[in-house]
Each structure stands twice: as structure tokens, then as C-alpha cells.
């Protein structure tokens, strides 16, 4: 049986304030796959992640974005989330005054009602949340605290994975979730992600470090430079980048890139 194509990008161009940041991206992600995206600072990785999550400030100037076969460009961010898209932010936003538990419950209920499932009552919600917190070994006290407010860097990243575990997305994009984590926290995060891996689900993992990919083993690795995917390959590409850096990568002709996988 052919695996469902969850995400399909064709020649995606994006600008902000008239400045082009994504300069023609082609990418196809099937259910069950893990794709890693690497690339130097400022190459456009977070931009791609935010555009996929529905950030309206970025203008899509050309190209095609399809999610599960349907055009995504006009779909609002909240609608994408309800359809199973999830972004773990590189910089999770602090929201003083809103408890983590409340926010998560509101989010979960929005997603559930979209799926035609009844809202969870407080008791069932707490049960689910406790179980998923275990997954990333997050202190239960963080449930009552305001979202990300005063969380340590590592707690913020684990909280993102915790949200993901509760919302059970179909396509999850992790933007540098490993940055700033010590090795134990990195393993915890990777275990959390791995436990969610399955034939129905796909991950787009943005990272600077091959280290993470030892724990979350990708099916494909792509290199983003200056708004383009300049090389795609298997996990050995990440190892190569680790030792060689990015300089050896000359931008390839576009056709070669598109056929890269």
C-alpha cells in the first residue's frame, strides 16, 4: 500500500517586507517518515516552519503547499492545528497569566471538536496530561504555572514536546527543540518523539546538530542554504555535515535537488 503524502512543497517562495527568504523549496513528506532539515543560521529554517504553521506575516509569492492533498496556503493557523499540524517553536512564547493546563485543555478541546470527538472533562484531561508528562519527565507543577513563564530553557523545550504528545498531531515540525538541552534532556525529548513515531505520523526535525539524529534517526536529511534545499540524502549526510561543515556544498542545479530523494 502506498504511504499517504502528508506534505508536498513545490517551488515555494516566501518574502517578508519585500525581502525574499525562501527561494524555491521542493519537499515531499510521507506518513511514517522523519525528515531532518539542517543548515546555517539565517538560511530560512524557522521561516519555513512558521510558514507551514500558518504565520501570516510571511507572504507566499510563488509555489504550492499541499497538506494531505489539499492546498494549505489559505488555511488559517488554527485550522491547520486542528487538522493535525503541530509546530514546536524554536522560541516558545511566555504567556503570563494563562496556566499551562488551561491553555492545553483549550487547545485539545479545539482539536477534538474538529475531529468530532467530545470535549474531555477535567478528570479525563488530567489523566491524559499526567500520562503524557511522564513521557518527557516534566514536573507536574509546570501545569499550574503560566505557559512558559519562568520556565528554564530546557523546560520550555520539553513543554513543547509535552504539548505535542497531548495533541497527537499527524505532522509535527520541531524547530531546534534540541538547542540548549543537556544530554539527559536531549535523550528525554528524543524518547518522547520516538514514542510518538508511527506509520500514520511524520516529523520534520530542524536541527543544527547531528547529535540529535543519533537518537531520532531520520529517513532523510535536507540541507537548507540561503532559502533553498541544496542537498538531500540519508542520515549519513548529517554525519558528513558534522565533520565538513557547510562550505563544501555548492548550490546544485535545481533539477538535481528536486530529484534528490
Amino acid at each position: 500500500m502506498k504511504k499517504e503524502t502528508l506534505l508536498e512543497l513545490k517551488d515555494l517562495h516566501c518574502s517578508i517586507d519585500g525581502k525574499e527568504i525562501l527561494k524555491g523549496i521542493d519537499l515531499s513528506v510521507n506518513a511514517g517518515e522523519v525528515h531532518a532539515i539542517m543548515g546555517p543560521n539565517g538560511s530560512g529554517k524557522s521561516t519555513l516552519a512558521q510558514v507551514l504553521a500558518g504565520r501570516e506575516e510571511y507572504e507566499i509569492t510563488a509555489g504550492d503547499v499541499r497538506y494531505r492533498g489539499r492546498d494549505l496556503i489559505e488555511v488559517a493557523a488554527e485550522e491547520r492545528a486542528r487538522q493535525g499540524l503541530f509546530l514546536a517553536f524554536q522560541y516558545p512564547v511566555e504567556i503570563p497569566g494563562v496556566s499551562n493546563a488551561y491553555f492545553l485543555r483549550a487547545a485539545l478541546n479545539a482539536v477534538r471538536s474538529h475531529r468530532g470527538e467530545p470535549e474531555l472533562d477535567a478528570i479525563d484531561f488530567l489523566k491524559l496530561v499526567r500520562e503524557r508528562m511522564q513521557l518527557v519527565k516534566l514536573d507536574e507543577a509546570l501545569l499550574k504555572r503560566p505557559v512558559n513563564d519562568g520556565f528554564s530553557g530546557g523546560e520550555k523545550k520539553r513543554n513543547e514536546i509535552f504539548h505535542m504528545a497531548v495533541l497527537e498531531p499527524i505532522l509535527a515540525i520541531l524547530d531546534e527543540t534540541d538547542s540548549g538541552l543537556d544530554i539527559d534532556a536531549l535523550k528525554i525529548v528524543a524518547d518522547g518523539v520516538n514514542s510518538l513515531r508511527g506509520p500514520e505520523r511524520a516529523f520534520l526535525v530542524i536541527t543544527h546538530y547531528q547529535r540529535l539524529l543519533n537518537y531520532i534517526v531520520p529517513d532523510f536529511v535536507h540541507v537548507l542554504m540561503d532559502g533553498r534545499i541544496v542537498r538531500s540524502g540519508g542520515r549519513e549526510l548529517a554525519l558528513h555535515l558534522e565533520s565538513q561543515g557547510y562550505e563544501w556544498l555548492e548550490p546544485e542545479p535545481r533539477e538535481a535537488v528536486a530529484a534528490g530523494r
Binding site: 493557523a77 492545528a81 486542528r82 517553536f89 512564547v93 497569566g97 483549550a106 485539545l108 503560566p146
Partner: protein
């Protein structure tokens, strides 16, 4: 002096009996009233040329013929249920109405009742303070109230007494067919090391209502007082309120000013920290919409060493409403080790809303710590997007963030029943009010 001519001003019409001779009141009061009347007649109503009234115009008051409210012939019904098991005093158009009040189980020694009655029957409680603390010389409305208030409330708490239930002062303005001036006056004396919580709430009124209220508060050494004012008048009404606080050594005042209603609201809060170790926490929240205009003027005077003050005022403005925040900290010469902080933060929900935020520091001592900050901004789009990317629609996300902005002040309220009411009042203002109420 007693026979001097009565100062004349249209807003003083009808005050003759109060100003001319004792008229049943003790001599000290008649004398202070005359000074106040002279002061008011000299000042006249403020204009925008006055520094303190630059952003708040009251010229519309000149156009009407105001008469001071008579006592209501029939008691109005009070919509708002009492605050939990609070002892409640209801003041209608400036007159205390025992028939609407509820005082149960107040400990012996506390005086909670009509100010007019206290002036006659317990002058010894009143004389040291009444029309002593509130500034007559530069605030015409304070002078106007002093010259001719008819009644109000005295709350006198003896030394060492701890009141475990809050005292609720409910001010009600009736609707009138012609321009009516209500002049409620409140005096609160918290004796040495006493503790109490007072919730002062005003409601009602109409475009023909001018409420001009003055509250004098005295905290003797070691007293702890939580004082909340909630201004929730009808949107047409004009409410000018002044609260003057004197604090003794090691006393602690926790004040919250919540403006949710009223057409034009001006609130002056002046605190004098006059005994070492005194502390004042002054918080406020104004929620404005339509064409409301809300002006908060704060003055904190550190006149002795080693006192602390905290000001946190937040505003959420919608429609084409206007807000003014004027926060002045004065540190007198010799008031070393002062720790004074001020913060005013404003959230604009509409492009037509406008805020004037003016911090003023006058520091005459050198070993002090004073900070101030003020912000005026919109909701953080990064936060809105973060919430939306988890599935919340834009309206819910914005409501949630607006709630969170207000919560910092609301959650600091130390009277649980009031905190609850304020939470609901804020939620009711938000587009996704139901969602927010579930959060509470």
C-alpha cells in the same frame, strides 16, 4: 469670620445653611467648610490650562445648573447583591441609608455608620481628621465636597481590632431628571495595629449625574488596610473621586482601583507615607470602551525614611476611549532608604483608543531607589500566533491574552468575593467571555 459673606459660585448654591453658622454641626466643621468654600470659589472649575487637568476637560459641567441631591424619598432597589458575608453600608446620592445597609456582628467599639450622625454624636472621633487631610487648596472638587457634603460614612476601627469580614461601602447614584450633584464623603480611621478590608463600590447615575466623592483614610501606626474602589457607574455619568491616605509608622495599605464604568471618571489617589516602615501597594485596572474617559492621578509622598511604595496600574482600552495616567512620586529631603516603584501598562484593543501616561519623579533625598516604567501597546502577535498554532481561534487567543494582561492586577485582590466578581466583570468584556469564564 463667621459672618463673612459666603463665597459665591453656582455650584455652591444651596450651601448657605452649611456655611453660615453652625447649623447643628460642630463649630470646627462649619469653619472648615467655609475655608473649603472660599477655596473652591477662588479656584473655580479646572480648565485644560491647569497642569493637572491638561488631558481631562470638565467644561461640560459649566453648562448645567447643578443642585445637590436631596435624600431619596423612596429607597431605590440595589441590583448588586452584597459581597459574601460583608457588612454593608449603602449610600444613596451621598446619604447613608440604614434601611438598605446590613451590619451584623460588627465587634463592639467599631463605628460604622452615618458621617452626619457621627459629626454630631461622636465629634471626638471625627474632629482630628475630617476635612483635615484631603487637599483643599489645589483640587476644586475636593473643596466642593468639603464645603457642602451632607452625609457619607465614618468607619472607625479601634486600636488592635482585626475585622475578619470586609466592609462594603456601596455608593448608588439615582437617575434624576435634572443635573444632580452627589457628594458622598467617607472617613476611615484604622487605629493602631488594626486590620480591615474595605470595598468601596459606586454604581448607577446617568448623564445628569455628577458624583464628587472624597474619602479620607488614616492608618495609625501598624494598621493594615486593604481598600478597593470599584467605579462601575453608567456610561453617561461623571464621577470625580479623591482618596487621600495618611499612613503612620509600619502601617500597610493595599489599594486597588478598578474602573469599569462611568462616562468621565477622574480618580485622584494621594498617599503620604508619614511614619518609618510604612508601605503602600497601589494597584489599578481600567477597562474602557466607547467614548469613556478615565483619568487616574496618583501622588505618593515619601516624607520620612525607610518606606516602600509600589504602583501598578494597567489599562485595557477599546473603542475611542481615552485614559490618562499621571503618577507622581515625591521623596522629601531626608526620606532616605525610600524604595518607590511605579509601572503603568496599557493595552490598546482599538486604533482609536488613546492613552496619556506621565510619570513624574521629584526626589530630594540621595539614598533612594525609585523606578518607573510605562508601556502602551497592542497584543503581542507572537503570542497570538503561538496560541493559534495550537488550535485556538484568533478571537479566543486574543481574549485569553487580554485576560492574562488584566489578571496580574485582578488576581492580586485579597478579598476573595471581590476577586471573583472582578474576574467575571473582566471576562464579560471579552469576545470569548464564555471560554474565559471556564478558565476561572
Amino acid at each position: 469670620m463667621a459672618t463673612a459673606t459666603i463665597p459665591s459660585h453656582p455650584l455652591l448654591a444651596g450651601a448657605e445653611s452649611l456655611l453660615d453658622g453652625p447649623g447643628g454641626q460642630p463649630g470646627f466643621l462649619a469653619e472648615r467648610r467655609r475655608q473649603a468654600a472660599a477655596s473652591f470659589a477662588g479656584l473655580g472649575l479646572p480648565t485644560r490650562a491647569w497642569e493637572e487637568w491638561r488631558f481631562t476637560g470638565v467644561s461640560h459641567l459649566e453648562e448645567a445648573q447643578w443642585t445637590v441631591a436631596e435624600r431619596a424619598p423612596q429607597l431605590p432597589s440595589i441590583d448588586e447583591p452584597p459581597l459574601g458575608d460583608a457588612n454593608r453600608l449603602v449610600v444613596v446620592d451621598g446619604w447613608l441609608e440604614p434601611g438598605l445597609s446590613r451590619l451584623q456582628g460588627l465587634p463592639d467599639g467599631v463605628f460604622a455608620g452615618s458621617l452626619a450622625e457621627a459629626v454630631v454624636r461622636r465629634p471626638e472621633l471625627v474632629e482630628p481628621h475630617l476635612v483635615r487631610h484631603a487637599a483643599l487648596n489645589d483640587h476644586p472638587f475636593v473643596a466642593l465636597n468639603a464645603a457642602q457634603f451632607r452625609d457619607g460614612v465614618l468607619l472607625w476601627i479601634p486600636a488592635g481590632m482585626v475585622l475578619d469580614r470586609p466592609i462594603e461601602l456601596q455608593l448608588v447614584a439615582r437617575r434624576h431628571r435634572r443635573p444632580t450633584l452627589a457628594l458622598p464623603r467617607v472617613l476611615i480611621v484604622a487605629g493602631r495595629s488594626s486590620q480591615a478590608a474595605v470595598v468601596h463600590r459606586s454604581a448607577g447615575g446617568s448623564a445628569d449625574t455628577l458624583t464628587c466623592s472624597v474619602t479620607e483614610v488614616v492608618l495609625e501606626d501598624g494598621a493594615v488596610l486593604d481598600h478597593y474602589s470599584v467605579v462601575d457607574d453608567d456610561h453617561g455619568a461623571t464621577h470625580i473621586a479623591a482618596l487621600e491616605v495618611r499612613q503612620g509608622r509600619d502601617s500597610a495599605m493595599h489599594s486597588g482601583v478598578f474602573v469599569t464604568g462611568g462616562g468621565l471618571v477622574r480618580s485622584d489617589l494621594a498617599v503620604t507615607l508619614g511614619g518609618a516602615g510604612a508601605g503602600a501597594t497601589l494597584e489599578g485596572l481600567y477597562l474602557t470602551s466607547g467614548r469613556q474617559h478615565v483619568d487616574n492621578h496618583l501622588l505618593v509622598r515619601h516624607s520620612v525614611p525607610s518606606c516602600t511604595s509600589r504602583q501598578l496600574y494597567k489599562g485595557i482600552l477599546d473603542g475611542s476611549s481615552r485614559a490618562v495616567f499621571n503618577g507622581r512620586i515625591v521623596v522629601d529631603k531626608g526620606a532616605q532608604k525610600t524604595d518607590a516603584r511605579q509601572s503603568n501598562r496599557n493595552l490598546l484593543l482599538s486604533p482609536a483608543a488613546l492613552v496619556q501616561s506621565n510619570p513624574q519623579l521629584e526626589i530630594l533625598a540621595d539614598d533612594v531607589r525609585c523606578t518607573h516604567g510605562s508601556t502602551i501597546g497592542r497584543l503581542d502577535e507572537d503570542a497570538v500566533f503561538y496560541l493559534r498554532s495550537r488550535g485556538l481561534d484568533r478571537t479566543s487567543a486574543e481574549s485569553l491574552l487580554t485576560w492574562a494582561f488584566a489578571a496580574e492586577v485582578v488576581e492580586g485582590v485579597r478579598v476573595p468575593e471581590l476577586r471573583d466578581r472582578l474576574r467575571r466583570a473582566v471576562a464579560a468584556r471579552l469576545p470569548s467571555s464564555q471560554m474565559i469564564e471556564e478558565l476561572l
